[in-house]
Symmetry: C2
Subunit: 217 residues, 2 copies
């Protein structure tokens, strides 16, 4: 953030995106230690010197990437939190859609953040950035906890178990969906996602049938 050379910020959007995405993918695929600045410059089609002119070091590049990704991610999440809370399952459905939109818009950043979340590369973030990162995670969890209306969950099984089950099923379904989409990249690329979302919603009807009080399904 701070350390970026202003020259970089004044670059045409297109070129800036090219450089950022090259770096996002490199760090996202390789992790911090294995990531190579040489491959980044090759991919971004700039000279080695420029990378270190824009950013000053590999580490500052890494932190700048993280902050850029955090900016976008936070923005998206705030959007999806601002909605009035519908019932539990519909709320998760909406969250999933937002997630997908973000992923479609910034696939490289998504991968980057995901990898960062799982790995221990967080150690290479400076204090400020690390704070932003953890607070994003905390805030997300808080909101999920707060906005989810569980009042229509059936009462013959413990609520906390039901909530977890619903969460796992949705997670599983999403993974399944992503796998199918990757297998059939056509549709994905053309943006014809509506059938998928329809199918998803039907699937959620089944979930409601299973987990909601009778008479509500």
């Amino acid at each position: 953030m701070r350390a970026i050379n202003k020259v970089f910020l004044e670059l045409p959007e297109e070129k800036r995106r090219l450089i950022l995405n090259a770096a996002f993918t490199e760090f996202g695929e390789q992790g911090y230690a294995r990531a190579s600045t040489n491959r980044v410059v090759a991919q971004a089609e700039i000279s080695k010197g420029m990378l270190f002119y824009y950013f000053n070091s590999k580490n500052e590049l890494f932190n700048d990437l993280a902050n850029t990704a955090l900016d976008h991610s936070m923005e998206k999440y705030e959007e999806s939190f601002s909605q009035v809370n519908p019932d539990y399952i519909d709320w998760l459905y909406n969250l999933a859609r937002k997630k997908f939109e973000y992923q479609q818009l910034f696939p490289e950043e998504t991968r980057f953040l995901g990898q960062l979340y799982l790995s221990s590369d967080k150690d290479f973030l400076d204090a400020d950035t690390a704070d932003r990162f953890t607070s994003l995670i905390r805030r997300t969890q808080e909101q999920v906890e707060k906005n989810a209306d569980t009042s229509m969950l059936r009462t013959d099984i413990p609520h906390d178990i039901a909530k977890k089950m619903v969460g796992w099923v949705i997670e599983g379904y999403q993974n399944d969906m992503v796998a199918r989409m990757e297998a059939d990249a056509e549709i994905w690329n053309k943006g014809h996602l509506d059938p998928f979302w329809d199918e998803y919603y039907e699937f959620l009807e089944v979930l409601k049938h299973l987990f909601y009080k009778k008479g509500k399904a």
Copy 2:
């Protein structure tokens, strides 16, 4: 397999395990390309020369590891396949227990095989070994498909959806369980796992209640 120096096979079990485990963890954590023979020998407390005396190259070491792990894994799976088929959920429960036992007995190999399954390091396996690997996977899937008795699944939701849901929920629960166990390593190390399995079984009762025909729960 083939290429192993007989000297290695005649080593005291303890020392052999030390070497194998060092290699398993190195390849498991780093993947083929990033794995370092230097770190392996350091961890195994043998000299560099010995590693290349026992195995001839990094690649043969890798293949020997894979074959060793496959041997154990196949054995375990055959055990769990030989049982007469109980109902769907109980079957999955048994499979999970076998998986855990294997994981507890050979944690390094588990990680190694898991990583191999996910990554593209399969390319570094020679043809025979790769075949063994894929046939293990195929066989597992076949058996799951074949032995699972789904006749008592409720009929008001499609069977294939119900099966998937059950699978996801079980997967989610297992991950949850592992996470909790890692957080409370005491119990895990002392082998006091029975309470966990009891809780698991209770959890499965809920699952049955949800997914089985009424009157069977």
